[in-house]
């Protein structure tokens, strides 16, 4: 229950109970049956249907030809003549006559942004969490509290100054852009001259992920048994060896939860994408593309819905296949941002 501490402690429980809904002890099944009523079930079923229908409508609309989709409600698709097509998808993936720019490159961009933006902060946070929990010094607790407190800073507060740092620099500090461009051999690939780059997105997402990641992982790592570390130290293992051989393998559940949460957070993010990607096809994520086509081609419902479905299918696959980790991570991180 205390696996990740804090709010997530409860969530741990939520996940376990969710996985085994009937594991409740003490209450006889007779009593349970007495309490349940058909009205309760009916209400739950109605809400469940209400909650699912809008998403279902999106899927159906995305499978209808443009003329019927723009003229009739999606629910009319279930009476003959059944009129379905995959044409919208082929149009929105590679671009067509209506929307010239397809979604495919943005889909790739979202992966290119999300995967490093989930892995790198995770490793940095895990290192910091170990350092704060097990390489203690006078200010360890103070630093941990400060990092914890940084969760109150909304991303909105960091956007303008960070943008300035990346493009113009802060006073004597040179622009990050220029620093990357001046790296020999790889500089121009990382941040093309006069072009856009994934680097600011990776850095910004890494920065914004750290307070929560360090907090959660610290809670987890601090709970690991003390004897483990003491024994390893007595055997002459360095902190670096301990980190790789003890901390890393033992933290896998916490790592998995946070990695999934962070991946989806970045995948679903619009604000950071809009601010740091500049909306170009080279680096902008899929959410920016969706917001754009929704604004420009909003009337082409059949295409916009197909695009939206492509964008949400990734989180939905993660959701249904990794629900255990997903719920734990998502709930633990629900105050982020």
């Amino acid at each position: 229950m205390t696996e990740m501490g804090g709010l997530s402690g409860q969530f741990e429980e939520a996940v376990i109970k969710n996985a085994a809904p009937d594991s409740r002890e003490g209450m006889s099944s007779a009593m349970r049956r007495n309490l349940s009523s058909p009205w309760a079930s009916a209400f739950v079923i109605i809400v469940t249907i209400l909650w699912t229908v809008p998403t279902f409508g999106l899927l159906v609309t995305s499978l209808r030809p443009s003329d019927v989709a723009s003229d009739t409600g999606w629910w009319t698709a279930f009476v003959p003549p059944f009129n379905f097509t995959l044409d919208n998808y082929s149009q929105v993936i590679s671009g067509g006559t209506t929307i010239p720019q397809g979604i495919a490159p943005y889909f790739v961009n979202s992966f290119v942004i999300s995967i490093p933006a989930a892995i790198v902060p995770l490793v940095i946070a895990l290192m910091a969490a170990y350092g704060l929990a097990w390489v203690k010094f006078k200010w360890s607790n103070g630093i941990f509290l400060l990092i914890f407190a940084l969760q109150i800073v909304p991303i909105q507060m960091a956007l303008l100054p960070l943008l300035t740092l990346f493009n113009k620099g802060w006073g004597p500090i040179p622009p990050v852009k220029q620093v990357f461009q001046s790296i020999p051999v790889i500089g121009n690939d990382l941040w093309p001259q006069g072009g856009v780059s994934f680097v600011p997105l990776w850095i910004a997402h890494t920065m914004f992920a750290l307070p929560l990641a360090i907090f959660l992982l610290h809670n987890f790592i601090a709970m690991l048994p003390k004897d483990l570390f003491e024994a390893a130290r007595v055997d002459g293992a360095s902190h670096f060896l301990i980190f790789r051989t003890i901390v890393l393998p033992l933290s896998v559940p916490a790592i998995a939860s946070f990695a999934i949460f962070q991946f989806l957070w970045v995948w679903n993010d619009l604000l950071v994408g809009l601010t740091f990607a500049g909306g170009t096809v080279d680096v902008a994520p899929i959410t920016v593309y969706l917001a754009n086509i929704k604004g420009t081609y909003g009337a082409q419902l059949h295409l916009v819905t197909a695009g939206a479905f492509i964008a949400i299918i990734v989180p939905l696959i993660v959701f249904f296949s990794l629900q255990r980790f997903f719920v734990r991570g998502l709930l633990a991180g629900s105050v982020k941002g």
Partner: protein
């Protein structure tokens, strides 16, 4: 031991070189893979060098390597920007001239801005209360059901979807066709209310001030599952003997709920409410994609984005970010103290 350490160094160098090689191939995927490999390579080399040191030097090195990157990133990414934004909120649109509290007085005294201030207040009150109440009610009902996993999953599912995706999903619900011109309705809501006898429904998203509530429904759709899952766990955590004792004393239904269940999970209820409120304050995606703040639907977070990146008024944008920060802070502090209390009780 030595062989494995040397292996570490070799792996580190190989990863770094591979990373650099991938950068040069200049396809996007290679760039991402290169970034990750390069990061791990450099890390392994540093770890190799760090493990060579002994005693005090090693402890110092460990602190530097473990804490250094995180602290630098946090200072550069959050601490300094927060200070610069606060400072910027006292400067003019270009960040050149000191204007005192002008941006703040603009925020609160311009009649045009009262719309987004009012809307933000409405959002922050209605959305958390409604999501939490519905989630709580569902949790109570599901607690007594045999198959709760599927409905729970489906109601929780919107939390996995991006706000932009959710907006497009709900565009289909709110889509409007003038009934006098077009007999067929494409939007679900129009079709539904017309079936129920409302012959001439309004164009939903332009229908002030009710369009605000229609946008809030999207957020409620997303957050109810969160409330449901957390509160459901809290209800299940109530010790059986407490409920049984109350039932033996004759408590049933409403009484059991108000005298036992609600007091037992009060802390969790508060945490859910404040967590949703924090999310609501910061969310801008829904308003940005649905109406972009037009038709009287503007909220604080979207106004901040508009001032900063559309109007390019850095001063006002910064002031709005500070207002957001000040509004969120008490909620988070309260949220955290509640959590601490909860944990102590347990």
């Amino acid at each position: 031991m030595n062989a494995s350490k040397a292996g570490e160094l070799i792996v580190g160098i190989v990863l770094t070189v591979c990373g650099i090689a991938l950068f040069v191939t200049a396809t996007k995927v290679a760039l991402a893979a290169g970034w990750v490999l390069f990061f791990f390579g450099v890390l392994l080399i540093i770890f190799y060098l760090g493990a060579k040191t002994r005693g005090k030097v090693q402890t110092g090195m460990a602190r530097l390597v473990f804490l250094g990157p995180a602290i630098i990133l946090l200072v550069v990414g959050l601490v300094v920007p927060a200070i610069l934004t606060t400072w910027g909120s006292f400067l003019d649109a270009n960040g050149k001239k000191f204007v005192g509290l002008a941006n703040y007085s603009w925020t609160f005294t311009t009649p045009d801005n009262w719309v987004f201030l009012r809307n933000t207040a409405l959002w922050i009150i209605i959305t958390p209360i409604f999501s939490t109440a519905l989630g709580f009610f569902l949790a109570l009902l599901m607690d007594r059901m045999r198959r709760e996993s599927l409905p729970k999953s489906l109601i929780f599912m919107p939390m996995a979807i991006s706000f932009v995706g959710a907006s497009i999903i709900w565009t289909l619900v709110y889509e409007y066709r003038d009934p006098s011109v077009d007999a067929n309705q494409v939007g679900l809501l129009s079709a539904l209310v017309m079936k129920l006898g409302w012959a001439n429904p309004p164009n939903w998203l332009l229908w002030e001030p009710w369009n605000n509530f229609l946008l809030m429904i999207i957020m409620i759709w997303i957050q109810t599952g969160f409330a449901l899952v957390v509160l459901s766990a809290a209800i299940k955590a109530i010790p059986m003997d407490v409920t049984e004792a109350a039932m033996l004393d004759g408590a049933t239904g409403w009484k059991l709920l108000t005298k036992v269940t609600v007091p037992m999970i009060r802390g969790t209820l508060v945490v859910v409410l404040t967590t949703i409120a924090i999310g609501v304050l910061k969310v801008f995606d829904i308003v940005y994609t649905m109406t972009n703040g037009n038709f009287g639907t503007q909220v604080l977070a979207n106004e901040m984005y508009a001032q900063s990146f559309v109007q390019f008024d850095k001063g006002r944008g910064s002031a709005l970010a500070v207002v957001l920060f000040l509004a969120v802070t008490p909620l988070i502090v309260y949220n955290v103290t509640q959590l601490r209390k909860e944990q102590q009780i347990r």
